[in-house]
Subunit: 276 residues, 2 copies
């Protein structure tokens, strides 16, 4: 069994890219109105430059049933033109029992994602159903990049030798699977916290949102996040790529240019000792 | 502006009911195959006995776009036959920025829920977009009833005079809105913790899942959860009601009987001093 993490590593190596493009279609910003066609053109223009695509489910849900259809067709299109690219369903679900089972069916059977983002506030019970699908898995929301993150995530837990809430989440993520199918989400705006998490969890893949429009520094995030092989991260940008141009004729070529620039920026930041 | 919490209180008073029926259609359990028809018959048979319906989004998502259509039509049917009943979209979303805005559009503009469940791991930024819709609001996942809940929720936070993670979530919920549009989710299986939360937050509505199939004791949960008026809770049962009978002819009347029995069990448990 090959896992999504192995697929990611192979793809990052082959494409020399740790760029993840966020496919977050917003009708108020898209250069054309058809969601599937918008995504197809972005994918066709960028897939040789990326290691992953990450559709954010909220944007499709806001379009209702039509959005669900468009998302499913988008995943099928990626499978068709770029089968080696990892597809991350960013839905941040978090529930238990038969409900978590149903979420896993939606994410893996209906949409066919390789991996999904999850909230782990409910503990291992909320993650286990996503580990029943062979090499598929999940990425647990750990430390986010927004101001409100500190309201809960930064507290230190009594009796843990100084572990914060978000460190506890990362520790638990390691405990919940022995087969390397879980990762963590760490926002780009806190490279110091990311460095600590990387040192403590050398093997966990890290999904890094928050570069570009959200203000995270690419060089700092890359250096803080990569593993000892100079890989192990997906650096995700959405608005900076898919809305790089508002022109119906040129938004896809502009997306390609922005993806290429981000890929280069990441690769330039890699420590010289890494193998990539 | 009337809030969903005021609507809930008025409905609980008028119907003398704190029963919330979970509309969680599972194709492997439903007595008939058509999801919308299944929900319509449950709703038609029970709406005079309930204060709320709570569709669990996972079950609809697992059916894909058709499930989304069925859920939207289910909400419209409730609005049509029982406009005074509160409709809770149980999706436990939790994200920030433009993504949280998109989730709010999905939940309120597309589905037309009165309120939704949310994860608050990302802090107030993940809740604020749901407070931009007049009297609508949200119910924050606080203390769940599953074994894994203790892996994070029960830790005590340093520097807080002994507050646990879940108490901090309840405290933050109070801080995030001055207009009474937020509540908390507390599982039925921990009545002691619920008593403490109720004492600390006399005004917060509490959504209580976990009775019936999940093993929570109705009497204990009711006594622990109600406010000083003997209301302020939604006690939610799904499987025990909607799958009370596997007969295509009788599942709706069996659901009515189960709803009525739960309503009576809750009302018998009310403290004699309450006004209901």
């Amino acid at each position: 069994m090959s896992t999504w993490v192995e697929k990611l590593d192979a793809r990052a190596t082959a494409a020399e890219s740790m760029v993840c493009v966020g496919l977050d279609p917003d009708p108020s910003k898209m250069a054309i109105t058809d969601t599937l066609e918008f995504n197809r053109r972005i994918i066709d223009a960028t897939h040789d430059l990326v290691c992953a695509y990450k559709p954010q489910l909220a944007f499709y849900e806001a379009m209702g049933a039509d959005g669900f259809e468009a998302l499913r067709a988008t995943v099928a299109h990626i499978r068709s033109v770029a089968p080696d690219v990892v597809i991350v369903g960013d839905g941040k679900r978090g529930d238990i029992g038969s409900t978590a089972d149903a979420y896993a069916r939606a994410m893996f059977d209906y949409f066919d994602f390789d991996t999904v983002t999850l909230h782990a506030y409910l503990g291992r019970d909320s993650v286990a159903p996503f580990l029943k699908y062979g090499g598929r898995g999940a990425i647990i929301v750990c430390r986010t990049s927004n101001p409100g993150a500190a309201e809960l995530q930064d507290y230190v837990l009594e009796g843990t030798d100084g572990r914060t809430v978000y460190q506890r989440v990362a520790d638990a993520t390691e405990e919940w699977d022995n087969e390397g199918r879980l990762g963590i989400v760490v926002g780009a705006t806190y490279p110091e916290e990311m460095s600590v998490l990387r040192a403590e969890h050398p093997g966990l893949p890290i999904l890094i949102p928050g570069v570009g429009a959200q203000g995270g520094d690419v060089e700092a995030a890359t250096r803080a996040g990569v593993n000892s092989d100079g890989r192990g991260v997906m650096i995700s940008s959405s608005r900076g790529i898919i809305y790089a141009s508002g022109s119906a004729d040129e938004f896809d070529s502009a997306a390609r240019d922005a993806t290429s620039a981000l890929r280069d920026e990441i690769n330039r930041a890699l420590p010289a000792t890494s193998t990539q």
